[in-house]
Amino acid sequence: MKKYFVNFCILSFAVFFLSGATEMPPAPAAVVTKVVNSAQYKPASGSWTTLKVGQALSTNDMVKTSGKALIVLKFTDNSVLKVRENSQVTISVTKNGKNVSKTVDIGKGTVNASVTKQDQQDFKVKSPTLVASVRGTEFLFGYDNDTTNVYLMEGKLFCEAQLGKKDTYELQEGMGCTVTSDGTIQAGEMTEKQKQEYNNSTKTNVRKVILKTPQGDLIIEYLTD
């Protein structure tokens, strides 16, 4: 009896370790297609390293940017996320049968999102104060100082405040909203300044002008559409 028990324990340990050894890595949810200036990557279980183009991102992976840095991510459904400067973002994907839920969690900073029409899928962008449910739309989502700002250029966005009064609001094209930590949503037409901010957030192509001197070249890089 004792022998059987010992064998069972050995088998259990073997199965446990073997299953760990052959466990498939989580399927990538997005891939990094562009990095401008300094950006970093942290896998779900790991530490921060320099982010490079081509890095696949799986659930609970994080990326962050410093000043004047930019990351462009492409999801498997062709949705594109432009992570602007001084931002930190966590990607998570959960599957439930045919339904796939993608969540972009903005710890701080700003993302410009161009989300393709979701079929049997769910795409959410959230901050500590707001969750926005997306169904094929283009918008800018920023979180700083306990306040979330959203500027919607195309489509519709259902917004749910996460704290306090927990206001809800369906944002229409051309509108923006501010969500504060008391759970109120203040929505209105986008101002010219906000439109300019949105337009700037879409720019990802780096162009340069060069100032030539006998002692070397000075390069000035700037972003365009």
């Binding site: 200036n37 100032l211 001197t213 700037y222």
Partner: protein, 348 residues
């Protein structure tokens, strides 16, 4: 009986739908990029810009259109008719507004409100709400359909632009020329300038909030001033300063005075005691203030101080040579929108 009623109602709906589709107006140029006064000023619509496309149905039969253009001032309730016209019969087809002058579609009769046109001419651009209505008739005068299109026009196109000083150029302290294009109907021009010690993030904010060195000085109806320095009264500029300047045209109208602002120009006062600080080098140094600290390299600042006056040329993206004006235009674009600045570094 019930079936007959359904057929009648259905027929009425169909005919209503057909009528509502008989005429469609589509504004083809985004407003307010179109100066509609050009349109209403144009006799027979010749010379008017391409403003709208009219889609007409049924096509291929003889018919004619009546069109009218109305204008409503800001804050008013009623539209005033600016222009009304009727074409000669033509074979019904889609057409652009410019076709009314340049094709087989010819004007049979037209009337215009001369007072309003004169007012519009005097002001240059008339703001308010515009309404275009097009009605379609067959050759026998039977009404086939109509459509109306409204547009708010509250943001007049800038028709006043400063020619001098040239954006980002450097001028001697006591020789800063200024000139601008004339505005029809303007009786006088006013100049405002503010000096700043570095390139401001917003030229407009700098002009509005800074202490002026030229405080809305009325220069009469001239369109050039030989030396802006002579207009200074307080807080005068010094060598090395940057200056933002704007001219405003004063245009008296029938009921009110309209003011039209020019673009804002940023220029620099030359500093003869600091030859190493060429304008370009100083501009780039100023641009660096828009970079985060981790991207600001002391080597770049040192490089600009040491070699800023020995610039041998400028290159664009693909290594092609560009001239100083093209280079300054790009710097100007970045200064106007510093968010797009990505990095500045040395390559040796």
């Amino acid at each position: 009986m019930k079936n007959r009623m359904i057929i009648i109602v259905f027929s009425l709906l169909l005919s209503f739908s057909a009528f509502s589709q008989a005429v469609q107006i589509q504004i083809v140029n985004p407003l307010p990029t179109v100066d509609l006064t050009q349109f209403i000023n144009a006799k027979d619509l010749c010379g008017a810009p391409e403003v709208f496309l009219v889609r007409l149905n049924p096509k291929g039969i003889q018919g004619y259109i009546k069109a009218k253009f109305e204008w409503k001032d800001i804050g008013k309730n009623n539209y005033s008719e600016v222009y009304r016209m009727q074409t000669n019969p033509f074979t019904i087809r889609d057409f652009y507004s410019t076709d009314l002058c340049n094709s087989e579609i010819t004007v049979f009769d037209e009337t215009s409100n001369n007072d309003l046109l004169q007012d519009a001419l005097a002001k240059g651009v008339t703001v308010g709400s515009y309404r275009i209505t097009v009605e379609l008739y067959d050759a026998n005068g039977n009404f086939l359909g109509a459509a109306t299109e409204n547009r708010e026009f509250t943001n007049p196109t800038a028709t006043l632009a400063m020619i001098q000083p040239v954006q980002l150029m450097s001028y001697p302290e006591n020789a800063v020329p200024a000139s601008w294009n004339p505005v029809i109907g303007a009786t006088s021009y006013r100049i405002k300038a503010v000096r700043v010690t570095s390139i401001p993030a917003s030229l407009e904010a700098a002009l509005e909030n800074g202490i002026p060195c030229i405080e809305n000085v009325d220069v009469g109806s001239v369109t050039q001033v030989n030396n802006l320095a002579s207009l200074q009264s307080q807080n005068p500029w010094r060598p090395g300063d940057f200056v933002v300047v704007r001219v405003t045209a004063v245009v008296p109208g029938a009921q009110s005075v309209q003011e039209l602002n020019s673009n804002i120009i940023l220029f620099q006062i030359a500093n003869p005691d600091a030859p190493q600080s060429s304008v370009v080098a100083q501009l780039i140094t100023s641009l660096m203030s828009f970079l985060p600290p981790n991207l600001v390299s002391p080597e770049v600042q040192q490089f600009l101080v040491q070699y800023g006056s020995s610039i041998t040329g400028y290159q664009g993206d693909a290594g092609q040579s560009i001239n100083v004006n093209e280079f300054l235009n790009i710097l100007n674009m970045i200064i106007a929108n510093p968010d797009i600045l990505s990095n500045i570094y040395i390559q040796q």
